[in-house]
Symmetry: D2
């Protein structure tokens, strides 16, 4: 297994079928530095216009439509002392008539302490002088090229992943994407120092990162939506609007997962989900919202050998 240091010179605002910037073998590790959501690098140099410029795509040898691309997020190291957010709740997360009273969506600076791994408003904001948040790294936008030759803006998400802005996509997470093109064509960028559920100010704390990850092809998995695994949970990810539909996608996918990989009938899957399911809101800001449907591993039956 090889480790590649990947320093792109071009970036993309879409996830689509474009020429690969790097070709790797299945199981290889990649270390790369991502730009922030507006395209600024670790030195504050503007390298590419937004939204969410992507490093990639990475062509993974052997990946074919119908396979899954497994991503292991090994390490995320913030490589800049500043991040930024917006100063107002987004219009779509409050009651419509209340939008009239929201503040301006100014860009606001945060200081990132890379020794302490904390982040604070800089300059401080009255009433929040106490707010010293831990850095909780996450990838906002990543995924593979979609099917049919489609190409989707990095502002949104779909079956192929994309701008899901889910807090759970940090170091230690494993994520699977449905491969729709030869080589899968993996893209990554838009990392956050931290973020609340839903990305409800329209940003996490946007900054640049050094990210280390491993990509592995799993043949013939026939996924529909992204799936993930943390230390304690497995989860399915639905991307759509409204949130109800994102939840329908994620729940349907989890039911199918429990039936195909854990041998449950649809009745048993219903019983299990009905009493133990957990949902997390990825984002409720982007054109497609993201809902995560989780099951704690301790409740799972043994996997069916296949």
């Amino acid at each position: 297994m090889t480790t590649h240091r990947f320093a792109p010179t071009t970036w993309y605002n879409v996830l689509g079928t474009v020429p690969p910037a790097l070709t790797i073998a299945s199981g290889d590790t990649v270390i790369t530095e991502t730009l922030d959501a507006n395209g600024f690098d670790k030195d504050g140099v503007h390298r590419m216009s937004g939204p969410n410029p992507m490093n990639g795509p990475i062509f993974v040898e052997g990946a074919e439509p119908g396979d899954a691309l497994k991503l292991e997020i090994i390490r995320m190291t913030p490589n800049r002392a500043t991040g930024w957010t917006r100063a107002s709740l987004a219009g779509n997360v409050v009651d419509p008539e209340v939008v009239r009273e929201l503040p301006a969506r100014d860009k606001v600076n945060w200081a990132i302490d890379r020794q302490a791994l904390t982040v604070t408003l800089d300059p401080p904001v009255k009433g929040l002088e106490h707010l010293v948040l831990p850095v909780e790294p996450m990838i906002g936008c990543f995924g593979v090229a979609p099917a049919l030759g489609q190409a989707f803006s990095t502002a949104t998400s779909a079956e192929n992943g994309g701008n899901m802005d889910y807090r759970g996509f940090g170091p230690g997470a494993t994520v699977w994407f449905p491969v729709a093109t030869e080589g899968a064509l993996f893209f990554i960028g838009d990392c956050h120092a931290t973020q609340g559920d839903g990305e409800i100010v329209g940003t996490g704390i946007e900054t640049s990162y050094e990210v280390e990850f491993r990509l592995t092809v799993e043949k013939g998995r026939k996924l529909v939506w992204p799936r993930g695994e943390s230390e304690d949970f497995i989860y399915s990810v639905g991307n759509a609007r409204p949130l109800d539909q994102a939840l329908q996608h994620a729940t349907t996918d989890m039911m199918n997962w429990l039936m195909s990989d854990y041998g449950l009938s649809n009745v048993a899957a219903s019983h299990l989900l009905g009493q133990v399911v957990r949902y997390e809101v990825g984002n409720v800001y982007d054109p497609a919202y993201t809902m995560v449907c989780k099951v704690e591993k301790k409740w799972l039956p043994a996997r069916v050998s296949k």
Copy 2:
């Protein structure tokens, strides 16, 4: 402060302005036994037709429109050895075309072990023989009479509470309701042995309970939506469809709470919520869905004296 043992002989399928069954002083404690969602009591006797027959209403002296009624859930003791659920995911939580393949919505029995405080499918279901769930008591439906002389079915929820089916409403939780009528008129019933997020089979494990709680009037709080507090979080509750709108209501209410009680500007409230908010899905089954907007107490500034 008095403790009342309240044994109702009539039950209601609405939360509305009906004659009080019990009158108490603010700060009094009540112990009562609730029926299950179909109206069966601890002895399996059918006392009232569904949905969700309510004990109450309890008239709390001194409560007037504009006040809050504070509920402290002190204890919930299951008083029956059986509960029941439905055997299929609800049609509205999966992709529409997948509904064609869902199993029948049969009523299914669970055994409640009141010593071990566990609950298991009875008879067992293939693939779930290992599933021994802890009893995690919660109140599915409770609240006060709504404004304007309205009366809402116990199948749904609104500003006054009602059938919110949120897992968090268990022992140790404190909940505030906006008082809209003289005496508040508090109703309670529909308790569950446990439930996953969203109540996605249309039920938790439905059973009867003995519940002990305290009701206290807080003058002039002028709430719009129910609010709650657990050991670590404060939270606002929005009830509506789609889930997006429930989220808008809860988020708006939390922003207002941070501004009025914690002295934050709308900019500061946006910053705080943007990076630390957590959402939980109450239910996505009832006519109105329930979304809970949470802030961990460790991130809150000091309360403003008022």
Copy 3:
């Protein structure tokens, strides 16, 4: 058949089970004067606070749960020279971030010419000096008491009708409501001089009216949602949020109607609706939105005798 002149002295802000103000026989005609949405009568006297004070309820002898109450709207005569609207699109009908730029929701006056049956902004508004609209009378809020002893605010709508704000509910229309209580308990008010689809400024041109209508009990119809008939169309009415769900309710009801009354299979009903259905947006402002599902009579097969 008797004609009743009904001059109420009390009004309601809910549709619910309250004491009847008038009792009539099935097939009787009623003439009554309605208040405007804010409770002002034809003389500009404030008689009752809003929202949408209702005349009624009218107890129709012989009406029982499971029956339909048939309403024929015979005549609607505006009885005041003024109406009013709001000066801004509602926040929920534009893109959320655009709400920041909407004008204030000021109350605006319109002059109603009862000879010419036209209505004009008074004073005129720049750019709209040419705008002389025909009076197209419609009932904004009407219906019967809901089931289970529920009572719903006249701000919203449900299976029992209520504040549907559909342009089509004017003279010549026939509307059926599902009876849920003894006597049906019919309510009416909130009439408009005209209104666009969706009531997107939150009002039609709100004014007082003299309304003449006939109420007839149809036994055992077992309706779920309101239904209507105009000269050329039959239609089903769904009330819910989001608009998608209102459309689901209306479409389901129309499919059922075609199957039960016109003898179609679900395949034939699908074919017919698929190629000839028409939808109209009632309102997209009230808590429940209203979608109307229409089929032109010329496409209907013969009714099945029952």
Copy 4:
């Protein structure tokens, strides 16, 4: 002005930036034959897999980002004696639990009488023997390449048009698309013999057509969404889910149109729309729904010279 006979040999399942198949001058006319939604031509030969294979793209000289591409639909002639539909309402247009009872989504044949311009189920379906529908030609899927190098499946729609499935897009209609790439890159296909509102069986009567249209560049129009004009109406088109959001997009665009081209203030635009707006449901089947916001021309003030 030249008339081009355009006989493509390749087709696309996306609207995106792909090599032009034809280059024309602004104002030229094109005559082309489209495949049906499954890729069958006028002779029943399968030329390309679905969904909705597109003829094109057509590069229109002089078109640049920020311009509008004006399409005039001159003529649509069905060139085959058969069309097809699906035999069931789509799962997403009925109440979720009702989906369990829907019939199979079989493919069903219709006979197109090209002399009489009528269309009938073939073989007949019981109860619908009387159903002889007029051919009302419409284009299901057409539009231009989207911005940023994106490419969208012909199953869905967005700012660039696409699979809007709106009944109004037939002969006599004029449609404007926002140009996002050099040459606009116009695509067209998926024509229907007729269709109800909403495309609620998931298809219109799908068939092949000869279509004649004119494409003209209008410089610097800076559109966001497609717009159209019929004999009596102007209209804006919003594409999104849920239907509420499609309606928000269309209404916002119409408000902007009234302000920029007709000189109205936002107050005057609110008054006009509030009392005269009409909505039509394009489709409620595709991944993005389509809502059309219409204003009758007789209510418009004079256009502002610009």
